[in-house]
Symmetry: C2
Subunit: 183 residues, 2 copies
């Protein structure tokens, strides 16, 4: 604990944390919060909006072993979808699930991974989503949202926003994705 | 697994990953790699260069429960140190430990957390460190380095560099640090 923080009674203030930008590390940073929060005994839940149930992901294996509730509601596509009705329906289903989990009061931290895409592409109306969160998010709940192109309304609503910028990327150098690192 | 990656035989190529910049999420992203890697069965080790053994950190609790080898070699200070000899000696001790772990071949992923500070402040000579890594890092080992002000030699050596930029920070709004999130 940082001794330089001014002594005052700690309030439980649930933060709205956004990791956005074009660089790597957005979803990974969110997983880092799960890593840290798990050790602190936080009650946590993750909803992944783009990834589908079919893929094999290191993080899902970890979550299963740690007993972290994990949902994947996507079909693996965003703007590349061949069935946009399906993609949009999945995003809306995911948001309904997120609303249920957020409103339940059963969690200390909820991750909405790649949730910026449904907002950016207009599958969900960003203003309505933020208004609902303002009215319904429990004060103590930490809400973590990742993805490129975070809408302005979300940035305005959030407490902590970090933009990941790519300085150097291995794909550019012809290095293939690495198991355990990229997925 | 991303189906869009061209089909080619996967090589085990250990990546050198750097999370730098002034924003939040550098160390957290590194913890996310541990979270994902643990589920994939990677053999992992973390050395924290600034944090001391005394603090209580959520990530240390997690690492202990998950059986991830974890070392904290710092005294909690960087440029604010009141005993610079001690701070420098700790950084050099940490680097010697890192060299031992890296050269051992016993790990798939090693995290050197806040390792940019000893390099930036000249407690270790960046050119010598990079030359040693080039000669001694096993090809399959993923090496993850975090901290502000990554030296140019490190950026040049790395495969993947992401810069975290602060868009919005809760301290600015008078919100205190939150357990399980910040520490």
């Amino acid at each position: 604990m940082d001794k330089r923080v001014p002594a005052r009674k700690k309030e439980t203030r649930g933060l709205v944390i956004v990791y956005t930008g074009q660089g790597k590390g957005k979803t990974t940073a969110a997983f880092g919060l799960l890593f840290r929060g798990w050790g602190s005994g936080l009650r946590m839940c993750a909803i992944q909006f783009i990834k589908s149930e079919r893929g094999k992901w290191g993080e899902v294996a970890t979550a299963r072993k740690l007993g972290i509730e994990w949902h994947r509601v996507g079909d693996g596509f965003t703007w590349l979808s061949k069935d946009m009705d399906e993609t949009v329906a999945r995003a809306r289903h995911g948001w309904a699930l997120a609303q249920e989990k957020i409103a339940s009061g059963d969690y200390d931290l909820i991750l909405l991974d790649e949730f910026t895409y449904p907002l950016h592409y207009g599958w969900l109306e960003a203003g309505e989503v933020i208004a609902w969160l303002q009215a319904n998010k429990p004060a103590g709940l930490h809400l973590v949202i990742t993805g490129r192109n975070a809408p302005e309304a979300l940035v305005a609503y959030a407490d902590l926003v970090t933009e990941m910028q790519a300085v150097k990327h291995p794909f550019e150098q012809g290095i293939p994705t690495q198991p355990g690192i990229e997925y």
